[in-house]
Amino acid sequence: MNIIESFKQALSSLRANKLRSILTMVGIIMGVFSVITIVAIGNATQSYMDNEFAKIGANVLVVYYKSGTINSNDILKNDDLKAIGTVEEIKNVGTAISGSGSLRLGSKNRTASITGISSQYKEIMPAEMAEGRMINDIDNSTRSNVVVITEEFANANFNGQNPIGQKLRVTLNSGSSLNLTVVGVTETEDSPFGNMMVNENQPVSLTIPMTTLQSYYGDNTLNYIYASVEETDSSELKKIADKVVRVLESKHGNKDKYAIEFLSDYQEMLNSMLGIVSSVLLVVAVITLVVGGIGIVNILLVSVTERIREIGVRKALGARKRDIVVQFITESIMLTGISGLIGILFGILGGFLISSLIKIPPVVNIKVIVLAFLGSVALGLLFGVYPAKKAADLDPIESLRYE
C-alpha cells in the first residue's frame, strides 16, 4: 500500500469519527499552541530587551554607595563626574537627580516628576528627540530654566501648537517656583507598559538641567554616577571599575564606600530570569502536549478495539502486519500533524496578539515552527506505535470471529 493510499484511508477513518477526532486533536492543538506562543513571547521579550540595551550602545557602569555609614566627605558631588572622567577608558560620565513638584495646567494642577540631568547624560542614556534638543552643556553651566518634555505631554497640552518655546510654571515641593521654557520633546516609544502609563494621575515627567534643579534645592548630592565604556570583556571591565573606585577613594580619602555595577550584569541577570520563566512555562506546555499524546493513544486503542473485525477482514484480503501498522500510525500522525499545524497557526496568532497587547514586536521563529511541526508528527509516531502494533498482532481468525 502506498503513502497516498494510506493517507486517504486514514483521512476517511478519521472523518468517520469526526467529533472524536476533533476532541483528540484539541489536546495536541493546545499543547503546540502553548509551546509556540510561549516561545514567541519569550523570544519577543528577549529581543526587545536586547534592543533596549543595544540602544545604550556602550557598556554602562553605575557608581553607587556601599551600604554602611556614609560621612559627609564620602558624598558624591558634581566634581566627581570630572574626576571619573580622568580614567582614560571612560567615554562619558553623567548623572541624574530627581525632584518633584507640581505643574499648573489651565485649571488643573498636575504633579510633576522632575529629572535633572548632567550634560553627558544624554550620551549614556540616549533619548530620541521628536522636536528640539536635549539638555546640553551650556544649559548646565548657565543653570538655565529650560525643560524637555515628553511627546505625549506635548500632544495633550499644546493642542497642535509648536511646543518649543512654550512656558511651563513649575512649583517645586521645596516651595520655590520656576518658569521653564520648552526646548525639546522626547519621542514616546512603544514600551510594554507604555499605555498603562498614560494617565491623568501619573506625574508629568520633565527633564531639566541638573544644575538648575540643584540650585533650587541648594544641594549638590549625587546618588549615583553613570559612566560609559567601550570595553565589553568582563575582566577588563573589572579593572576599569577598580580604577574608577580608586580615583574616587583617593579624592575623598576613604575606603570601601563605593560600589560599581555594569548594566551588562543586569542584562545577563534579566536574561537568565527570563530564561527560567520561559523554561518553566515550556515544561508546562510540553506536559500539555504529552497529555494530548496520551489522549491519542487512548483513542487509537478504542479505535483498534472497535475495528478488530475490519482488521481481520483486511488481513484476510491480503494486508500484511506492516500494512496494518502503517494504517494506524498514519492515522495517528495525521491527527497530530494536523493538530500541530492548527496549533502553530493559533500559536503565531496568539504570539502576535499578546505582542501587540504588550507592545513588543513579535518574533516568529521559523526554526521553532518547523520543530513544533516535526515534533507533533514525531509525537504521532511515538504514540501511534503501541496501538498500531496491537492492531497488527491481532490473529486474523479470531478477529474475523469477533463480535
Binding site: 500500500m1 493510499e5 468517520a16 477482514v313 483486511r314 484476510a316 491480503g318 500484511r320 481468525i397 474475523l400
Partner: protein
C-alpha cells in the same frame, strides 16, 4: 490441480491439553471444481477452511495451493497468497461499513499494489459481473443482505484468485437471496472459477458438484453430486409461486 493436501494434520495446544482438530486429511481439488465442505460444529471443517484460506497453518503434512507449498511460507508470504490466490466470502459479508461498494471491492487490489485507475476499472467490472453495477456507489448499510453478499463476491473475484473460499455464504440470507447467491456462484463456476464452500445446509451443498463430509477431524465422505440443483431453476419456481 488447485489444492493438494497430503496427510494434513492440525493440533491445537491449549496449555497442557492438545486437541487434534484435523487428522491425516488427503484432498485434491481440481481447477473449475465446485466443492462443498460439510460437517457439524467441531468436525474440523472450520479448521480446514482456515488452512485452505491460508489464515492458519497445518501442524503436519503438506498443503499445495496452485503449485505453491503453503506449509513452508512465512506470515508475509501467506498474506500475499491470501491477497492474490484466494477470494474470501464470509457469512456476515464483512464489508467495511464506511466506504462504498466500489471502494470495498478495490480493497484487495490496494494491498496488491494496483494503481487507482486500474483498480476502479477492475472493481466496476467485478461488480458488473455480479449484477450490481447500479449500486456501486452505495455504502453497505444501503444494501440488502443479498446485495452485500454479491459485493463480497465481487471483492473475492477481483484479483482473479485461484480459488474462491466461501464460509457459510448464505447463512445470513433468506431463501430467495440464498438461491441468488448460489446462482452467482454457479455462473462463476461455469465461467471457470474454482469454488470451495463451507456450509452446514444440505440444500446449499446440493448446488455444488462435490461434497466433502467432515466428522471428528476426519473426512468421512467424498461424494460427487449427481444432479446439482440449478439455482436459476429454483428462482424461476419461486417467482412462479409468487404469481
Amino acid at each position: 490441480m488447485i489444492i493438494s493436501m497430503k496427510n494434513l494434520g492440525k493440533i491445537y495446544k491449549n496449555g497442557q491439553i492438545e486437541v487434534e482438530a484435523l487428522k491425516h486429511a488427503n484432498i485434491d481439488i481440481e481447477k473449475e471444481e465446485f466443492v462443498a465442505i460439510m460437517g457439524p460444529s467441531g468436525s474440523g471443517k472450520s479448521t480446514m477452511m482456515n488452512i485452505i484460506g491460508c489464515l492458519d497453518k497445518s501442524t503436519s503434512g503438506e498443503y499445495w495451493l496452485d503449485g505453491i507449498n503453503i506449509s513452508t511460507l512465512n506470515e508475509v508470504e501467506l498474506a500475499r497468497i491470501r491477497n492474490l490466490k484466494i477470494g474470501f466470502v464470509f457469512q456476515s459479508f464483512n464489508l467495511l461499513p464506511r466506504i462504498t461498494a466500489l471502494q470495498n471491492v478495490e480493497l484487495p487490489m490496494i494491498y496488491a499494489g494496483i494503481g487507482s485507475k486500474e483498480r476502479r476499472k477492475k472493481a466496476s467490472s467485478a461488480l458488473e459481473r455480479v449484477g450490481l453495477e447500479e449500486r456501486m456507489h452505495h455504502k453497505p448499510n444501503e444494501m440488502s443482505g443479498g446485495q452485500k453478499q454479491r459485493v463480497a463476491i465481487a471483492r473475492a473475484l477481483v484479483n482473479s484468485p485461484a480459488l474462491i473460499l466461501a464460509d457459510e455464504p448464505t447463512g445470513n440470507l433468506d431463501s430467495t437471496s440464498s438461491e441468488e447467491i448460489m446462482s452467482v456462484f454457479q455462473d462463476l463456476n461455469r465461467e471457470g472459477v474454482t469454488i470451495v464452500l463451507v456450509t452446514h445446509e444440505p440444500d446449499i451443498a446440493e448446488h455444488t458438484k462435490r461434497v466433502l463430509r467432515f466428522r471428528d477431524g476426519i473426512i468421512r465422505a467424498d461424494e460427487t453430486v449427481k444432479n446439482p440443483v440449478d439455482a436459476r431453476e429454483v428462482l424461476k419456481n419461486y417467482s412462479m409461486m409468487e404469481e
